[in-house]
């Protein structure tokens, strides 16, 4: 496709962007495109035909039925829509094909700009073992443990003695807690190893076990990075320790527990890893922080925009999605690390169509009435409207409410005020959960860890 006839805009060679997503992130990308004067094409499933992003895009193309694998996950249909409608670039949002290296590669082959890092970088970082290796190469701390499976309990004992108890035995083939054992002292190891191997064999047909340092009372801290390939910037951290079953519920920046020295080391590690792998676009390095020891370990890298990116935007003033588009258009970053200032505190609450009183059961249905909160320091990213029918096929995120304050106290007070004003009628949402959370002493004191919600806030019923 020739772009010779098209005027060059502020985003370099981009003129028309296809949005390959739905819901609030599709709206987020459309807004960024509008502000950059880029034309928009959105692809959607039949179930999203009446959605707000479809109505706000310049063009909308139905690519398939409700089921994702026949629409949002079908790379060929999306690339085809981009070609037919002469889109220069595809923004994948988060989820769906956003971290799919094959999709990025298909875009590259078809000479459509994929708004994200190169396919080979996605591929490397998507392989957990390879990513851990790359982190180690870049000098980024990884959780102490065996690099692969262990021969037997004796080898496990040797390693455990080295990294220190408690340790975690894990099924190499598994996940989801099956074959997992916490070993608190050397005497327990042989017995636990045998149990874990037996359970692993039963669950996954493979008794291979590896060992890792067991960390409790940990926090989930991630560093936002932004790179044009030459300049690699960090935009500080986000504390995402408020989770339920590894699903983030509330994120904030700065972290209430990170001291300046540890923050500097984490940001430095994130930048080093990006440089090491030649990362471009916006990305996030997720770390485990052990606040008691002030130590952190590389967990994984998300090679896309994150749900919680707005908190970083609120304190830095940098529009991450516009930056992604500008980088994708070949425009070098106009800012240096020293230009980035962090002001105040920002918190995001994810408002889901879920009933927190019934195990966070999803509640699709029709939003009979929606009224967004407003006023000072409040940002709302939502694809809801009065009359919107939530399709039962996709995730339950309805809105992200973000509150900014000069300090954490002001941000919390604003969030509380805003959630009290917000009205969503017709479906049950997680607003009551957030109102409880925002008043909880441990949260107010910043003394939470990744199992706080399940163990303390929701208690035994979680």
């Amino acid at each position: 496709m020739s772009l010779a006839a098209h005027p060059v805009t502020g985003t370099g060679r981009l003129r028309r962007v296809l949005v390959a997503n739905r819901g609030e992130i599709a709206l987020r990308v459309l807004r960024a495109c509008r502000e950059l004067d880029l034309e928009t094409v959105i692809v959607h499933s039949e179930a999203d035909a009446d959605s707000l992003p479809v109505r706000l895009a310049d063009r909308a193309v139905c690519i398939g039925p409700a089921r994702s694998n026949q629409s949002y996950l079908n790379a060929e249909f999306i690339v085809s829509a981009a070609q037919i409608h002469h889109a220069d670039a595809i923004h994948p949002g988060y989820g769906f094909l956003s971290e799919n290296a094959d999709f990025a590669r298909l875009c590259e082959m078809e000479k459509i700009v994929f708004v994200g890092p190169r396919a080979d970088v996605i591929s490397q970082m998507g392989d957990k073992v390879r990513a851990r290796q790359l982190a180690a190469e870049a000098g980024v701390p990884t959780t102490p443990g065996s690099d692969g499976k262990l021969r037997d309990a004796a080898e496990a004992a040797q390693l455990a003695a080295k990294i220190g108890y408690p340790v975690l035995l894990k099924a190499a083939a598994g996940g989801g807690g099956r074959g997992m054992r916490v070993v608190r002292e050397a005497g327990e190891l042989a017995c636990q190893f045998a149990d874990a191997a037996r359970e692993a064999k039963a669950a996954f047909g493979d008794d291979a076990i590896y060992v890792e340092k067991f960390l409790s009372n940990i926090r989930h801290i991630e560093i936002q990075v932004l790179s044009d390939g030459a300049t690699v910037l960090h935009l500080g951290e986000r504390d995402c320790s408020i989770q339920r079953r590894n699903q983030k519920l509330l994120e904030e920046t700065p972290s209430p527990v990170l001291d300046a020295a540890v923050r500097a080391r984490m940001c430095d590690a994130a930048v080093k890893l990006c440089r090491h792998v030649g990362y471009t676009s916006a990305g996030t390095i997720e770390f485990i922080l052990d606040p008691a020891r002030g130590e952190f370990y590389f967990m994984e890298m998300n090679t896309r925009i994150q749900v919680e990116h707005p908190v970083t935007e609120m304190v830095s003033g940098i529009d991450l999605v516009k930056a992604q588009l500008e980088i994708a258009g070949g425009k070098p970053l106009a800012i240096a690390q020293d230009d980035i200032r962090f002001d105040g505190h920002a918190i995001e609450c994810r408002i889901n169509a879920e009933d927190s009183a019934r195990g966070f059961a999803p509640c699709p249905g029709e939003i009979s009435h929606y009224h967004a909160p407003g006023g000072p320091g409040i940002r709302v990213d939502s694809h809801m409207f009065s009359g919107y029918r939530i399709p039962p096929y996709y995730d339950s995120l309805l809105a992200k409410v973000v509150a900014w304050g000069r300090d954490r106290g002001e941000a919390i007070a604003r969030m509380h005020r805003a959630l009290n004003e917000m009205e969503i009628r017709g479906v049950t949402t997680t607003i009551p959960f957030h109102l409880d959370l925002l008043r909880h002493e441990a949260f107010l004191a910043g003394e939470v860890h990744t199992r706080f919600v399940e163990e303390q806030l929701l208690g035994a019923t979680a």
Binding site: V43, E46, A47, A49, D50, L52, V54, R55, L56, A57, D58, R59, A60, V61, C62, I63, G64, P65, S71, E76, F77, V79, S80, A81, Q83, I84, H85, D355, C363, P364, G365, E366, S368, F385, S386, G387, Y388, P392, G426, V427, T428
Partner: protein, 168 residues
């Protein structure tokens, strides 16, 4: 809370029921918070939610608009409602792509308005990523409408051809 008694599946069943019946022209159902209005003949536009931007809602030249005939009430596209006579069968695109009316550039079109087709007759091709997908009529009858120009983009579910079914 409100709609535990009424699922998406129930809705589909009701729509199917109405579709296969000729007795009802209007249907109003209220179950708790859910209100369902089905009307035959002129599908009511969904209450447009939230767009003040004239450039966002105005149809752009290259955007295909799907036609929603009476028999396809649940058609979820931005609709320009068109009514076809009873007995009309709609041949829809099974995928997003470019529509071609002829097997190759310069060749005669597969069908023209007035052409008699069998269920196996090819009425056009939808190209996706250089893959050519032949579109069969699926129903014997006479072609009454050709709705997409040669080479135009089509979206999933878009009506390509209308056929007046035989024995209908």
């Amino acid at each position: 809370m409100s709609n535990t008694a009424f699922s998406y599946q129930d809705l589909l069943q009701i729509v199917d029921l109405i579709k296969t019946s000729t007795q009802f022209n209007e249907f109003h159902l209220k179950v708790g918070d859910i209100e369902l209005d089905i009307r035959r003949g002129e599908p009511a536009a969904r209450p447009a939610p939230a767009v003040a931007a004239p450039d966002a809602t105005a149809p752009t030249p290259a955007t295909p608009v799907a036609v929603s005939p009476p028999a396809a009430i649940a058609e979820p596209h931005r609709s320009v409602p068109l009514a076809y006579p009873a007995g009309s069968v709609l041949v829809k695109s099974p995928m997003v792509g470019s529509f071609y009316r002829a097997p190759e550039p310069g060749a005669h079109p597969f069908v023209e308005v007035g052409a008699r087709v069998t269920a196996q007759s090819i009425v056009g091709i939808v190209e996706v990523m250089k893959l050519m997908n032949s579109i069969p009529a699926g129903q014997a009858g006479v072609v009454t409408h050709l709705l997409v120009e040669d080479g135009e983009p089509v979206q999933y579910g878009q009506v390509l051809v209308v056929i007046e079914a035989e024995n209908a």
